[in-house]
């Protein structure tokens, strides 16, 4: 059997989850994510695992809640409209400090939108995935290999911090086929779950999984404690950099846009502009420090994303608006061209150093 296999992004996420020890998948089909569920449907029964097509997205996320409370690695996946439906469940998972992995293979929105690729759920993933004070860890792969690697990492991070980790892809990453080295899944880290509802056997006091608190003081204390945990997770912020050392124009892009942006950086360099790329791999925590450090030497930023401009706000916040930030974006399922990104880089290069 080959070490390398040719996989769709959706299949890579599914196989990685299985290799990470996930045996409980609850989902509901939606394009362009469906192959993920279809792959699970084929593989799980052969492994003695559970593939369950729920009656709705809302049911699926609450099944994840139940499975996670019982201490097993559980996941669900969907595409944009499905994530809106899962929002309530994600808030309950956070309120109960339950680990889970959720995948969003984004499509055009709002509403039913379309089935072409999009990144317009950035705010939903990093700001308002549900009601209340909470965060998800949001990982943004840009190759099928990373879809595989970061899914494994998502399970590990979720268990380590007892949070939901989201793998945020887009329709293109879900559908495209690329070679994947699956032997990288050799070492999977697992965590003891002494909080899980596994039965006391009469040997310990009972565990309780709950998100309802009758006393405001108690709820406030819990939220404060949870945010101490988030502060620790913040250290985990991660980027990939390309030609940033001498860059005067910094392009910031994640996922599929980062691949286009990389081509554009090369194109701009050929035209004599010192451009570089910062690709956030974690969208929450957002790599603020890396942006701030880049602002010390760069004169302007270009943000490339497939939305009306969402991550651009995080870039501006991170550098305290100290440099001009130009948005180069397409929306509704359209993908930016490298020519458009090169034009934006040239425009940024014309700005005066402040």
């Amino acid at each position: 059997m080959a070490e390398k296999v040719l996989m769709k992004g959706n299949e890579a996420v599914a196989e990685a989850a299985i290799m990470a020890g996930c045996r409980h998948f609850f989902g509901y089909p939606i394009t362009p994510q469906t192959e993920l569920a279809a792959y699970m449907a084929k593989r799980m029964p052969k492994l003695g695992g559970t593939y369950l097509q729920a009656e709705s997205e809302i049911a699926a996320i609450n099944m994840v809640y139940g499975a996670s409370a019982a201490g097993v690695r559980a996941m669900t996946s969907s595409s944009s409209p499905g994530l809106s439906l899962k929002s309530e469940g994600l808030s309950y998972l956070a309120g109960s400090d339950l680990p889970a992995v959720v995948v969003n293979i984004q499509r055009g929105g709002p509403g039913l939108g379309g089935i072409r690729p999009s990144q317009a759920d950035y705010f939903h993933a990093t700001r308002s995935t549900g009601h209340g004070d909470f965060h998800l860890i949001v990982l943004a792969p840009n190759t099928v290999q990373e879809m595989f690697d970061l899914t494994i990492e998502a399970f590990e991070l979720a268990d380590k911090y007892r949070v939901t980790a989201m793998v945020l892809g887009d329709g293109m990453l879900g559908q495209v086929m690329e070679p994947v080295d699956i032997s990288r899944a050799g070492n999977i880290t697992t965590f003891a779950k002494d909080w899980a509802l596994t039965g006391t056997q009469g040997k310990r006091s009972k565990n309780i999984v709950n998100s309802l608190y009758l006393e405001a003081e108690e709820l406030e204390m819990l939220n404060l404690k949870r945010y101490e945990k988030y502060a620790e997770v913040g250290k985990y912020a991660r980027t990939d950099s390309y030609l940033t050392e001498d860059a005067e124009v910094i392009v910031v892009a994640y996922g599929i846009c980062a691949r286009i942006a990389k081509n554009a950086v090369n194109g701009a360099r050929k035209k004599g502009v010192k451009a570089g790329l910062i690709r956030p791999i974690t969208l929450w925590p957002f790599p603020k420090k890396q942006m701030k450090a880049a602002a010390a030497t760069a004169k302007a930023f270009v943000v490339v994303e497939m939305s009306m401009g969402q991550m651009v706000e995080d870039v501006e916040l991170s550098i305290r608006c100290s440099r001009p930030v130009i948005l180069c974006s397409r929306t509704g399922g359209m993908v930016p061209t490298d020519e458009a990104v090169i034009s934006a880089i040239m425009e940024a290069d014309r700005t005066e150093r402040s």
């Binding site: 059997m1 299949e11 192959e35 593989r43 329709g171 559908q175 490298d338």
Partner: protein
């Protein structure tokens, strides 16, 4: 390689049916003035025959494709124009079927028509796909497709590849896999399809080598 009037390409999801079918249609066009290719995919909303529309049009090949292919409409529909395959018997036709048994269901409807015609139906295989990595799994998929499509395969195409990472050794290593499937099914390996850049190196060692060109998308450029 002599061509039947109708050639069907089916196989496991992601085995490379569309790429092979488009290249086969282009190859057919060299020897036949009237060639059409029909996209019968009712499964996959991305990466369709339509992606090669310009190339096909330039070669003078007629493309039959759903109006909703590559659009925002996720409607698993088959264009009525497919019937022109059976009405215009002076045309050579290539049919690109959707993946797995799910995709092959769309073929079953034309069962009676195929019985009355000169038809080749090729199973496209890729041993580097995760769910068809061994012979047994591939044969299971083949039987599922045959049942759904109400059609027996007449040949197989070894399209084993790792996308941009494919090396000549990867192709060579897939030969025993293809041969074993061929032995088990009694289906001839009608071609081993490889990306054109590797063809020269493999020509001497592989019979029936079929060089193909693939579509390149904006975000795939120079990522190696």
């Amino acid at each position: 390689m002599s061509a039947s009037r109708v050639t069907i390409f089916a196989g496991h999801y992601g085995s490379g049916k569309t790429n092979v079918a488009v290249n086969y249609a282009l190859w057919l066009r060299f020897s036949h003035p009237k060639v059409m290719i029909a996209d019968l995919d009712i499964v996959n909303p991305y990466f369709r025959t339509k992606d090669s529309a310009e190339k096909l049009q330039a070669a003078g090949i007629k493309l039959i494709s759903s109006d909703t292919a590559n659009s925002n409409v996720d409607a698993p529909s088959v264009p009525g124009e497919i019937n022109s395959i059976f009405d215009n018997t002076e045309w050579y036709s290539v049919i690109d079927v959707g993946g797995d048994d799910r995709g092959a269901y769309a073929l079953g409807r034309y069962h009676e028509k195929f019985l009355q015609d000169s038809v080749s139906s090729f199973l496209v295989v890729n041993m580097y796909r995760p769910l068809s990595r061994d012979v047994e799994a591939t044969l299971e998929i083949m039987r599922e497709i045959e049942t759904a499509a109400r059609l027996k395969f007449t040949g197989m195409i070894n399209n084993s590849n790792l996308g941009p990472d494919t090396t000549p050794a990867d192709i060579i290593n897939s030969i025993p896999y293809a041969e074993e499937i061929s032995r088990e099914t009694k289906l001839p390996v009608v071609m081993t399809s490889v990306i054109r850049s590797l063809a020269a190196e493999l020509e001497a060692s592989i019979p029936n080598l079929f060089p193909i060109d693939v579509e390149e998308y904006v975000w795939q450029k120079s990522q190696k």
